[in-house]
Assembly symmetry: D5
Homo-oligomer: 149 residues x 10
């Protein structure tokens, strides 16, 4: 492949930031309310555990924070870190839920992994956590994805 001189002057700080990252929590400024934060992260990619071929997904997180909220840049770098991991659709979606629940102890959280088609089959994984004492809103997932076809 032909490549220009310019493109050989490459930087590596992105690799370093992803490797050094830890999910970070910040104090919730509005703990008195059960408000919902919804994230859509369309650039998730990982590797198939069986083959090593790439998989792609949009990750959607909805949660009601308790004492803490997730810091956005650390969440982005956390997602970036899946790029070179071999992990199944079910495992990555559930692992994101596990990791965010462990960090934040939210009142309620749902994670959706909306994966692209493999072997003519599209897969979407939805997994949810709730503090047993929580009775606030659990908004339906309105917008799974555009329709096939």
């Amino acid at each position: 492949m032909s490549e220009s001189e310019q493109d050989r002057v490459i930087g590596r700080y992105g690799f370093d930031e992803i490797a050094a990252n830890h999910l970070e929590a910040w104090p919730n400024s509005y703990p008195e309310r059960d408000y919902v934060t919804h994230f859509e992260i369309p650039e998730f990619t990982c590797l198939c555990p069986r083959s090593g071929f790439p998989d792609f997904a949009t990750i959607i997180v909805d949660y009601v924070p308790d004492k803490q909220v997730v810091e956005l840049k650390s969440l982005k770098l956390y997602i970036n870190a899946y790029r070179n991991r071999q992990i199944s659709h079910e495992a990555s979606t559930n692992a994101i839920l596990d990791d965010l629940v462990a960090l934040l102890s939210p009142r309620w959280m749902r994670v959706v992994g909306d994966f692209t088609v493999r072997g003519n089959i599209k897969t979407v994984i939805t997994t949810e956590y709730a503090n047993p004492e929580y009775h606030g809103p659990r908004p339906e997932l309105k917008r799974f994805l555009p329709a096939i076809g």
Copy 2:
């Protein structure tokens, strides 16, 4: 019909894989949670039981696994195997539910067969199974299909 030499060098391993396939179950890595797996399989085709003419559908499966999940490649080949069967819309949709419930004993499962128009009428079949002891999420089917017209 004219055809090039190249196209005559045909392979048959797809036929063999479809014929030899059995639906396969794998252990569920997250049995402690009632999470939902959603599949969309847009390339279903079978034959009309009355005429033998082809029918086309998107099959949509939602389920909450218990001890086992379905292996994706075996599901694809299972769907491929309907291509030469003569079977009605109701029968194919219910048979897919029967076969997956028999394999997986899921907590809950719904199968939708979203067929293309025949005789100016579009048909969608929705059929569902639930373990009587299951009380977790049964997500509404959000995205039946794009609107006519």
Copy 3:
């Protein structure tokens, strides 16, 4: 209007089939389940009872069969037969419900008549029947129609 010779060689079997048709019921192969059949019939037309001008609609039927299902070709011809009838929006939608309930004794049925604009007003009629002993799914009508404009 100019017309070619070819187009004068006309056939009449469609008229005969529509005139001779009766809605026909077939046995339900899966009576043990409360599954839902959804039909969309976009080519309904009838005549306005006040003027005789044509009306157009999409008819949408959802039902849970009990012992019988409707045969599709007879349903198509039944719908065709409205072409020359003068009947209001409410009357046609309710009449289709009456006729299908009388034929099938379903567990539950809903008929929607989604008519095109007349006098700058779009009308959609929704009417429903349920056997009092039925407690299964009554799926919400997801997809009324595309938005105006």
Copy 4:
């Protein structure tokens, strides 16, 4: 402005029909059922009470008739009559509800006024009436409007 001779030969019967109109009720042919009639009326316009500048809306009516249904032509002319009235978004939407409830004594009715943007803000008013003894369907408003942007 230049104008052709033809366009000067103007008629006035529309003005007369709008001025003479009264909302008209007809007997409900299916009073034994709680069926829903849905209207969309995209060509509503009135005048801002503060300035006199034009406002535009789509009016959406859903109702379950009791003994009477509204006659469509009289409804169209009733809507036309708002063209020269100065009335707020809240007042017009609630007034349409009041007038139709007074005419029809429906079992249930909802009126939505979906107005176009003014001052960078889009406003939608939703107002509802129910006979206290009514326990039938109150269909959710599926299709508020197309998304911004």
Copy 5:
């Protein structure tokens, strides 16, 4: 079919208007310009010449008037008159072109018949007339544009 008393009080003036109609031309108020008029007529229906079963189409007309324009109500009634004719897709589209060219002697005209699916095949017929001396715009067929938003 059950029917209410009300729906038996039927009117016939629509039949009479359609039967008595002739396509009507009016003077073009702007003959000095080559401007384009585009019509979309989504409620065309006729009968298949081979079977008598109904066909449905949207008819689209674009033309550059010369001395005359078509009167809209007479065009609507002309289109209504196809409802009971047995005529092929090609013949109806070309006949509409012939009739409008004969009436108007336009500088340029194109008629499209955009028919619904029959036998799994959708058909669109496009046919065009131009006065040999005409050198003005012949706009490509594309839907002009949805309204803002």
Copy 6:
């Protein structure tokens, strides 16, 4: 119709501004370039010359200014002034072109009137002016593009 006290406190300055308005031209700051200005004005309404019933349209203007550009507020008020005029689709679209060409002497201009359906027929009028010495861009009519996403 019931109405609150508040809504009776009405203002009239909008009427006055519309009545007093004249289309206004401003100097073009970039006369050395053939750049295109595109306007979409979705809230046009006038009255049918035959009946007095309301008509609705989106007006689309594209032009290449020469020495002057149109002032936007005066254009809005000019469009508002059609609300009480009885004028045909062809006449209003061509009149807007005439008036803007008279005001601005542009290098090139096109006006489109995209009217809502009347009598089941949608009408779009396209009319164009060019200075004979102009040889710059005449962009095809297409909606520029939705924002990303």
Copy 7:
């Protein structure tokens, strides 16, 4: 797989009609005009020449007939006959062009094979024939337009 008794009563006439079919030509009623016929055939399926796994496509045909037009039912059955053939994307699209040109000797024809994704890659093949003496319209490939509304 479980199957009801009813679904075992299968018919075979579709197989027979497909096997016996020959593409059939009819006289063109409007040979004096260069009009365009556009077909969309969304239910094409064949088998991959390398593996035997199914492929799916929409076939789009545009042509300007000369003396003959293709009969629609024979075209549908011709397309059905690809279901059990092993043939590449390029070969099937070009073969359809070859066969229709051989049958009809059209003035101009274009065939598009718009295949679904395989190996994460979507493929669309476009191939065209023109009689060297033909100078009429060769419409660009674009979806004609959605219906109004």
Copy 8:
């Protein structure tokens, strides 16, 4: 940057109106009904508290007024005033709720801040207030936003 003379003649009244504005309440003309007012305000912008870079959002407000409604122009100017504030997604959405609840004492209110993507992540904040004695409609948020991609 080059700039014309005209563009240097700038006005400042917008700055003054925004600076002088206070959210203003008006009496609710229909306090006897629990009706819902829905606002969409697509042109919200503020500054990131960490960096000072701009953020963009659509703000969506739904509320059931009690004795008072918010005056629209004062709401627009209130939203304009965020342009130069450094404030987080959570803080701005909750602050709008706080300020409107303090002004209006509504029966129920929900505010959504639908922010554009930052660091590949889209964020939507939903926060809600209800008077404990309120038992009327709390309409689901139907239309969060268009889908990614």
Copy 9:
């Protein structure tokens, strides 16, 4: 407005980066080809020259680089710098063209300013530069295409 402690810890580096920025050019690695770079920048905002109220636009740039390409981060900061400028729609779109042409001396460039509605009128400005010796592609403005599906 209520605000949490956390949100008071604000940073200013964004202000500094925007203030210090200069548009920056990099060498074009592929000067031997006339390739086209297309940018969409949906988060442009400036201030109205007459009032000081905010305006919003998507800026779209297409260009064929010669010896240099624009560095993306400096382009983003350049666009950010319009936030506090009072400038008209025509002036900002033409100024962006002027500044980029001065920086890059491209073979061809087009800038579009697609502004949101003001006074019920949407405005889109399109302005273009070409080196007189350039004869390569000048792609029509159309949104490239949505992703598959």
Copy 10:
């Protein structure tokens, strides 16, 4: 991160196939025609040359083959191989063109890299090659068309 035993049994053959792959050419079965092959490859990802952070794009290839066509599986693996390369938008798009032209010596080819937003700016690169003796179709870039319905 929690992970199940199952997900630790990982395979590596995908890595090996990507590493060993070479773009492969096959004979063109229809060299006598200038037909167009269009590919859409939505799962392209590489790494930013400046930072190492991931970039995402859809790659679109259109070409008219001469003696050879590209083998699809080798094209997929070639695209996969960009996952760990640090390369700019311009360089990757032009490199794909260079590599495919070197392999196939096509009559004409165009490659588009449609990248996701970075720093609020979306970038699309379009680059093209033509054999100087080629005079056949060079289809404009437009998405072919959605399937019917």
